[in-house]
Symmetry: C2
């Protein structure tokens, strides 16, 4: 089977978006909290079937690990109650998609992170999503400020309560920032990739996995700049007296959201196959097709198929690695006889 480990609900019904009227209360606290007008099942099907589900099927995919729209997480909104309500609404919507299409979508949750805020709310929402809604992982932003980078490195003890919950629940996190509020960083063309690159280097500098040996982090977008600069990281590690970056690969995984063949070829050449998880991020940052080849930019299945993996390796990239990194997904699939 083919598991796409990185999809966001970027096509939510209008009713869901209306709840973001909650932001008006930050300027005028006298306003009532908006009611959440839940989209109907038909609205949800109309949002999913012609979009993510259609594309998943067209490309031979079976299941997508599905999370709320990343750029709409907007962790930079600093009010904890607003963050809690928004994360809850977004996650509940993902849960409903999983209920409508249980064979095709497994949930990954948004956390109510805020700049400088405690992670208690994030831990509580993670527990709710995993224990009550059968989610299989979470998205964690290393930069709740949205491009101002005011949070400590992800190796700092600030993050430990979240890691403790993740390891107890045995769920991984995808390291994924939200929208950039900094005009220097385009959200999709700079901020996302910078976050991937920066966090890998933070991990190389620290000893996080000595303390949390079973913690697992997925770095999306093919690892940002990391595989392209793998020699730089190896050399820096030597210079800094750190273990080779390959040591991090017990706990760190890269997805295949790299939108051309040479990029996927490099990823395959540099990163061990055990650490590569198939993903497309569709319908995400880049839509449409390359006018020169006719291949959809995010049709990463085509690039992976052409990258020279053996059948056994493809099976790891498409399925085995995801089942290992997301054991709760594996358990669900096994229970369903898949």
């Amino acid at each position: 089977m083919i598991i796409d480990c990185h999809g966001h609900f970027t096509t939510v019904p209008a009713a869901h978006k209306e709840f973001r009227a909650q932001l008006a209360r930050l300027a005028d606290p006298s306003l009532a909290e908006p009611d959440y007008r839940a989209p109907s099942d038909d609205e949800l099907r109309a949002a999913i079937e012609p979009n993510q589900l259609r594309v998943l099927r067209e490309r031979g995919g079976d299941l997508m690990i599905f999370s709320p729209q990343a750029s709409a997480m907007e962790h930079h909104v600093a009010d904890p109650a607003t963050a809690r309500a928004w994360a809850r609404a977004c996650n509940d919507l993902i849960h409903r998609v999983g209920g409508l299409f249980p064979e095709n979508f497994a949930g990954v949750c948004q956390l109510p992170q805020t700049p400088g805020g405690s992670l208690d709310d994030s831990v509580a929402e993670l527990r709710r999503c995993v224990e009550e809604l059968d989610f299989v992982g979470c998205n964690v932003t290393p930069d709740p400020s949205g491009g101002h980078w005011t949070a400590p490195p992800m190796t700092d003890e600030y993050w430990f309560p979240l890691y403790e919950a993740m390891t107890e629940l045995d769920v991984p996190a995808m390291v994924h920032v939200s929208a950039s509020c900094n005009p220097a960083f385009h959200t999709l063309g700079a901020h996302y990739l910078n976050a991937d690159t920066s966090v890998f280097m933070q991990l190389l500098q620290g000893d996080l996995f000595e303390r949390f040996p079973t913690l697992r982090l997925v770095i999306p977008h093919g690892g940002g700049a990391v595989p392209y600069h793998w020699g730089r990281y190896r050399g820096l590690a030597v210079r800094m007296g750190r273990p080779d970056p390959s040591r991090l690969l017990r706990n760190v995984f890269f997805d295949t959201c790299v939108y051309h063949q040479p990029g996927i070829d490099l990823l395959r050449q540099v990163i061990p196959v055990e650490n590569i998880l198939f993903a497309s991020e569709m319908l995400g940052a880049v839509r449409g097709a390359d006018p020169e080849t006719g291949i959809a930019w995010d049709d990463t299945r085509t690039y992976v198929d052409a990258a020279g993996f053996s059948d056994r390796e493809k099976s790891q990239v498409f399925e085995g690695n995801a089942r290992r990194v997301y054991p709760r997904l594996d358990a669900q699939l096994t229970r369903a006889g898949r």
Copy 2:
């Protein structure tokens, strides 16, 4: 001949570093400005000959485009007088190296940029270095804050006075940040690469080269994450209604500071040969050799030689492109019969 377009004076004599005692005056303005105790010619030779010059020669290189140590530019120090004096001292030292080894080093200057400060001082220092010291280019940081990213994108009119001087003088800039003051960003393993990536995206979003059609920018470190994600940039451009990123390659160039063979292979595959400038950044971020291959990390000549370029293409990468992008260097070499 082989021109290395990206080297920094990372091995300065102690006497030069002592001038940085100027920083103490920021806390205690009653202190006198330190005298600049100029290193002797012998001290300079001892700093260069066993280091950059030795390695340049060992690898068959002829000339290095040489600039002050990037991480020591420290544009985050906000006092304009301090920035002016430091840039001047650093650039004068580069000029002296060029005087001692005129066949081997051509100068590129540090600018006295400060966070949010006017670029007038930078324009004046650029003019001094080019017109009086025969420098052939400059380094420009897109983030004088040192990792807080408070400056507007490089397409903003804030930068135009510098671009006007650069185009008038016909010198390119290498886009190069200095040390990171943000613990989220390791200077060499994240901040440098993030800057490369972010600025390319800024350029894709704007119309800078419509206004400055002869402006030339060199993005170092192999373009950060850009070549690895070339498909992402092409797809984003379509989505945003922008010209294909290849359009930027009339004005934007990438160096070869990518420290392993697969990275250089990808660079060659994705970026037109006309836009690739040989560089090593030695003695820079990554020192020593890969214990598995024995090849020095920054021995990019070895990777370029093995990348499958034709002889004509290698001549472009090693020499022709640098002479085209740095016309003042070309004029100097031509006058010298080289």
